[in-house]
């Protein structure tokens, strides 16, 4: 009996002692869904996008009487400081609830911040036990704050929008882990998706516009040195073997109109070779396509036409890749394609010798692009629809 009382007293006191420490009620948390990092002069401005559950609850449980105020569930707050941690401390001062980083979906860098270097921020973000290594990292062409401030019409928050856009894999999809790997890798370069704000439409408030990913920011070291547009980004994706969805439109010789095909499966191999002190890189692309649209009068049941089409598609791919190479390799000198890793893997010994001169060697590498496109299915149509039978070129 005595022992029972002692055990009881001890357990109760343990419980009372531990009442505070790491326990936080959900009601005391400010859930951050997106972080924006901007450079303001010498200071860092951190913008946090917070979800306000009260507004959500009004829509969800009370029967939709004021659920019309769509997208109003998030607010944005900023803090400034010398470092990111400083800025967070300042931000926390302004908030009644404790910031909670466990649900951060996206990390957006303003262009200025990206140009000033992101290494310190990355260190902080990966050191913090709350943030996720899977958060998407993006660069904004204006300030990060302007992106996070938006109130999207479909999704709950603009952070959610950006994450969905990233995951759709049309352009770059880069997570915090990928950035860390790129920054500490051999290439010394990185590529991050870049967000553009759409111009404001008439009769809409500035916050109701949308942001979307249409460019790619190129980093050398940890600083942004420029950006490439969506076409060139596709080229980069081809080289990086990350292409998931793409439509290619070509026109064939001897026929009016265009044919668009979509990629079902694509694979890219980088084959380095070393001869007489010169490095060569062969980019070998194979892809399997389906025809999506045929505006010509060519029947695609003719093997000849298919071959013609395949060749044209391959040519288009090569052109696209070459355009990217021209810009990124020759002008920007940034190895975002991972040539260094490929060479390192294939020629580890030689790599150790050229490692330190890689920045000089990379732009000089001779790149040869080969493409092999196989068109597999013509879609649901046999001959082109909408034209008389005798006009179809068999």
């Amino acid at each position: 009996m005595k022992r029972a009382i002692i055990c009881f007293v001890v357990s109760i006191s343990c419980f009372l002692l531990s009442g505070c420490w790491d326990r936080t009620e959900l009601n005391d948390l400010a859930l951050v869904t997106g972080i924006g990092i901007d450079q303001k002069g010498k200071e860092i401005e951190l913008t946090a996008q917070l979800v306000v559950p009260k507004k959500l609850g009004a829509g969800a449980s009370m029967g939709g009487n004021n659920s019309g105020s769509s997208g109003g569930a998030t607010i944005v707050r900023s803090g400034t400081g010398k470092t990111l941690a400083d800025a967070i401390a300042h931000l926390q001062e302004k908030l009644p609830r404790r910031l909670f980083w466990g649900h951060v979906k996206v990390i957006v860098f303003g262009e200025k911040a990206a140009k000033a270097g992101i290494r310190a921020h990355m260190d902080f973000l990966s050191r913090n036990p709350q943030t996720r290594l899977r958060s998407n990292v993006l660069v904004s062409d204006k300030t990060a704050k302007s992106v996070l401030e938006l109130l999207p019409p479909i999704e709950q928050s603009s952070a959610e929008v950006l994450r969905e856009l990233s995951n759709s894999q049309i352009l770059m999809n880069i997570t915090l882990k990928d950035v860390l790997q790129m920054l500490s890798g051999e290439t010394g370069a990185a590529a991050l998706p870049m967000v553009t704000l759409l111009p404001i439409e008439k009769e809409k408030t500035p916050l109701e516009t949308i942001a979307y990913i249409d460019r790619t920011a190129i980093f050398k070291g940890d600083r942004m040195i420029g950006s490439i547009g969506d076409k060139l980004t596709r080229g980069a994706l081809w080289i990086r073997n990350e292409i998931e969805q793409a439509n290619i439109t070509v026109s064939l010789k001897g026929a009016e109109g265009k044919i668009t095909s979509t990629i079902i499966r694509a694979n890219t191999k980088l084959i380095p070779s070393y001869k007489n002190g010169r490095w060569k890189m062969t980019i070998d692309i194979t892809s399997r396509d389906d025809v999506l649209l045929n505006a010509t009068n060519l029947s695609l049941y003719n093997e000849k036409h298919i071959h013609q089409l395949e060749k044209a598609l391959a040519q288009a791919t090569i052109e696209r890749v070459n355009a990217t190479l021209k810009k990124v390799q020759k002008e920007m000198h940034a190895d975002i394609f991972g040539f260094a890793d490929v060479i390192h893997r294939k020629y580890p010994k030689q790599w150790n010798r050229i490692k330190n001169r890689w920045d000089d060697i990379f732009p000089e590498i001779e790149v040869k692009v080969k493409a092999n496109v196989v068109v597999q299915r013509p879609g649901m149509n046999t001959t082109p629809q909408g034209i008389p039978e005798d006009e179809v070129k068999k």
Binding site: F15, S18, G19, E25, N27, V51, L56, G102, K105
Partner: protein, 530 residues
């Protein structure tokens, strides 16, 4: 056997200095030849007992005799119609000896001669008539007992969809007969004992000779022999007095009111203890997994039983852990919840004044109270208060903003989960354990839950029930036994008895009984039908 090393010290009883327990001395008196003296002795013993009837008469109109019985325990009709007339007739006196006369002319099947007052009392209490005859130093007990008893009913606590529907009743003889009807072998042994200074309750230990191990039987005997109480009303009294760890929350003995469960367990080499006056029988030894098995597992198709068992194991965890996991995740590990779900929860919790921990505790306690009230309330009111009442209260509490809606779901699910455990005693143990688990979750999050779980496991690993480790066959692992734990293998594969209880005779049935019409000599499937 080393299992029984902690055999209790027998010294306890001797240390107590000749307790003031009532001595049985007056009853030890031997009956005298003088009938009046006998009647006087008995009348003093049964002073102020209005239900004891003394009826004096003369056998054949010559010999003085008195018949004693306790009203309500005896079939008075038979006494009036059959016994008394045949005693009172003339021929009685003409018989050569009294004994031969009684044997020849009394229309009663069971006659016992008794020598002492004590025996008289015992016979009277068990519903016999005692016949005292003048000039005879012994009495005759006629067993014509008859008392009101419940008819056989379906056991309410352990319902099945498929399976025998009869349950034990309060009468030990009925129960034994039910058992005997299932196990017709003379190897079914039933050993009777009497417990309780005042209640004199009959307790029967049953086992199958040749299946139950001697060490187990001996241990049961030893533990039962230590019992010395003034009364026993339910087998739970015995349970509390013989179990291995009296402080544990977990039942270390199976209790059941189903004869088929007892019979099946006897066949596995276990020992059952039945008691007069209660429909609940005890089965020893028990393991934790045996408490999670329902008799229906063996009556349904094996694949389905297996799936239902897994469901049960899952809900066992749910009933123990769900509220604590909810509290832990909501107050410590908010990142674990998918964002959308977390936002929904946050929205529903926004106006709740209590911390999640307090909320969970309040609701769980309310649920337990409702459950208890549902059991205790008179039947007419009970239904209204049960689950429906809980739901109404829950709905109102949510609308009033006192409790959040997800919490109600958690509590309801936990409550339902605990009822998937077939044995009530095991279910309630887990239900009670979830309160400390909630507290641990509230102070240390998932770490606390894990530590709590480890403490429970440590306790279970230390427990033994009559020498059998409580967690067996999981730990210590006996892969062969898992056929009845992880899955329920088909009957034709259960060729061996469980190792821990059925060591004496391992083989249960003939091997190779898997029905296979194409292999066997089944005429129909050979296409031999014309």
């Amino acid at each position: 056997m080393q299992f029984f090393k902690q055999r209790r010290k027998q010294t306890n009883k001797e240390n107590v200095p000749a307790m003031e327990r009532e001595h049985k001395q007056p009853e030890a008196v031997v009956l005298s030849a003088d009938i009046t003296q006998n009647i006087q002795t008995l009348q003093t013993i049964y002073e102020n007992c209005c239900d004891v009837v003394f009826r004096s008469f003369r056998i054949g109109g010559e010999v003085n005799a008195t018949i004693l019985y306790i009203d309500g325990l005896v079939n008075v009709e038979q006494l009036n119609i059959a016994v008394l007339p045949s005693l009172m007739t003339k021929q009685a006196a003409e018989a050569t000896t009294l004994a031969s006369f009684l044997k020849e002319s009394l229309p009663v099947s069971s006659l016992t001669t008794v020598q002492t007052v004590a025996e008289c009392i015992e016979q009277l209490s068990s519903g016999s008539c005692v016949l005292l005859i003048d000039k005879q130093p012994e009495a005759v007990a006629l067993s014509i007992a008859k008392w009101e008893k419940r008819s056989l009913e379906e056991p309410t606590g352990e319902g099945v969809i498929r399976g025998p529907r009869e349950g034990f009743t309060e009468s030990i003889s009925t129960n034994l007969s039910l058992l005997r009807r299932k196990l017709k072998s003379p190897k079914l042994k039933t050993k009777a004992k009497t417990f309780g200074t005042y209640t004199q309750t009959t307790v029967v230990v049953t086992y199958i000779d040749g299946l139950a191990s001697e060490t187990l039987l001996e241990e049961v005997e030893v533990r039962l022999s230590r019992i010395d109480v003034d009364g026993i009303f339910e087998t739970s009294y015995i349970e509390e007095l013989i179990e291995d760890n009296p402080y544990s929350l977990f039942p270390q003995v199976i209790n059941t009111e189903r004869p088929d469960v007892v019979a099946a367990n006897l066949l596995e080499g276990r020992v059952a203890i039945l008691q007069d006056g209660t429909p609940f029988a005890l089965i020893v030894p028990a393991s934790f997994y045996s408490l999670l098995q329902s008799s229906e597992d063996y009556y349904q198709r094996h694949a389905i039983s297996t799936m239902i068992r897994w469901l049960r194991y899952l809900f066992l965890l749910v009933s123990l852990l769900l509220p604590s996991l909810y509290v832990a995740v909501l107050t410590f590990h908010q990142e674990m919840v998918p964002t959308t779900l977390l936002l929904t929860m946050a929205a529903s919790r926004e106006l709740i004044p209590f911390p999640a921990l307090v909320e969970a505790l309040i609701m769980e306690i309310v649920f337990e109270a409702l459950r208890e009230a549902g059991v205790r309330l008179p039947k007419q009111a009970g239904a209204a208060v049960s689950i429906v009442g809980a739901l109404v209260i829950g709905q109102a509490a949510v609308q009033a903003g006192i409790v959040s809606a997800p919490m109600i779901m958690v509590v309801a699910l936990t409550g339902i989960a605990s009822f998937t455990i077939p044995r009530y005693a095991a279910g309630i143990a887990l239900r009670m354990l979830r309160f400390p688990m909630i507290l641990l979750a509230g102070s240390l999050g998932l770490l606390g839950v894990m530590l709590g779980l480890l403490l429970i496991l440590i306790h279970m690993a230390t427990l033994r029930s009559f020498g059998v480790p409580y967690l067996s066959p999981m730990a210590p692992m006996q892969w062969e036994e898992m056929k009845d734990v992880l899955v329920r293998v088909p009957l034709w594969k259960q060729n061996k008895r469980p190792r821990l209880t059925g060591t004496k005779n391992r083989t249960r049935q003939a091997p190779n009984q898997k029905p296979d019409p194409l292999e066997g000599d089944d005429q129909l499937s050979k296409g031999g039908q014309s």
